[in-house]
């Protein structure tokens, strides 16, 4: 499938996404090791159109899409939908009003 591009590019992008997801010890994470092992195992083939290789590449590209989309979606959510309502003080400040001072104490 030409639309996928080079497997190496997909692999690099996928490993980068895994690094974002995992944090410090990303190289020891099971996902990182599994992906590397899978790519190494399928590297040795004499056929150009090896079906298993194509299947692996498609799977890797799909997983890459998943990780990337989740990260982007979360970023958009934080940016636009995560802030909640403004407090009355903030709203007043926005439009230039002053809130009335409520008298304290009894009465």
């Amino acid at each position: 499938m030409e639309a996928l591009g080079a497997p190496l590019r997909t692999l690099r992008a996928l490993l980068r996404e895994l690094r974002h997801a995992a944090g410090r010890s990303y190289r020891d994470s099971p996902a990182y090791r599994h992906v590397l092992a899978a790519f190494r195992a399928h590297r040795v083939t004499t056929e150009k159109l090896c079906r298993a290789q194509q299947e692996l590449h498609f799977q890797a590209a799909t997983y890459l899409c998943l990780l990337r989309s989740v990260r982007e979606h979360e970023a958009l959510h934080r940016e636009y939908h995560g802030k909640g309502e403004r407090s009355p003080q903030e709203v007043a400040r926005l439009v230039g009003f002053r809130l009335p001072q409520q008298p304290r104490g009894k009465g």
Binding site: M1, A3, L4, L18, A21, A22, S29, P30, A31, H34, A41, T45, T46, A52, Q54, E55, F58, Q59, A61, T62, Y63, C65, L66, S69, V70, E72, H73, E74, L76, H77, E79, Y80, H81
Partner: protein
């Protein structure tokens, strides 16, 4: 429809339930340090510290594929301070497969999937504006043709409000094709179809004919056309786009991981 026990509100710990029967809380604090995988009797299990992950209906969380277990573990491990359940699509799919909250059997799932063909997005065409009609013809015709050739069926397309007239033989072909998938994979397939609003695009994706990005683009063709015309609104368009991509990618990966049997075939070296 038997309701799940009221105590099983969260994904693994028993807690008070003040919400709908099968809805986990939207967010809660990350309460575990380490995520690991172990192999049990029924398959692969996820461990959060020393606790075993359970489904919302308090069943033990077991998956048949190691790769799937690793991906689920990665989802749990990538949560930072709070656990955002709405981003954990693979976990949700596994929970659905294990609990089957809608209590559908294989036949019902297949019927729901094939029913989508009658209102398949790529078969529903507009007549105007002409630019959109042209775009639909150029982008969707190839996929329909591919499906017709691959499955040896007649599908066609329609501009009528009633939609295309799908012959019974076409439906039967898809029913028997989907019957070859196991129950887990079928949950995934039905999920992808519901997201993309198209059986044809879903099969095209699952048969690896197009990528996830392309399938999502084709599913949102009219929206993309309107965006190009009137402009993009990041907090709505991109938000929906990323969410649809994430869900579709998760569903596709889920289907492939649940229906594969990995075996490395060694070719004989030729002298």
């Amino acid at each position: 429809l038997s309701r799940p026990p009221p105590a099983a509100a969260g994904s693994c710990l028993v807690g008070p339930c003040g919400r709908r029967a099968y809805a986990p809380p939207a967010e809660r604090k990350r309460f575990y340090q380490n995520v690991s995988i172990s192999q049990g009797e029924g398959g692969f299990e996820i461990n959060l510290d020393h606790r075993k992950l359970k489904t919302p209906q308090a069943k033990l969380f077991t998956v048949p594929s190691e790769a799937l277990a690793i991906a689920v573990a990665t989802e749990w491990d990538s949560q930072k301070d709070t656990i955002k359940f709405y981003t954990m699509h693979l976990t949700t799919l596994c929970n659905t497969a294990l609990d089957n909250p809608t209590q559908r059997n294989k036949t019902q799932l297949i019927r729901a999937a094939v029913k989508f063909l009658e209102t398949d997005t790529v078969c529903y065409r507009v007549e105007e504006p002409p630019a959109l009609a042209e775009l639909q013809k150029n982008e969707w015709d190839p996929v329909v043709t591919w499906a017709e050739k691959r499955y040896n069926v007649t599908i066609g397309s329609s501009t009528s409000i009633l939609g295309p007239n799908i012959p019974a033989s076409t439906k039967e072909t898809f029913v028997s094709h989907l019957a070859s998938y196991n129950m887990w994979a079928l949950q995934g397939i039905e999920f992808v179809i519901t997201q993309l609003k198209s059986l044809i695009l879903s099969m095209s994706l699952i048969d690896r004919h197009i990528t996830v990005e392309k399938a999502v683009l084709l599913s949102r063709l009219e929206e993309e056309y309107q965006i190009r015309r009137w402009g993009n609104v990041e907090w709505a368009h991109d938000y929906d786009l990323c969410e649809l991509r994430a869900r579709t990618a998760a569903g596709t990966l889920f289907v492939h991981l649940c229906s594969e049997s990995s075996s490395v075939k060694h070719k004989l070296l030729q002298d």
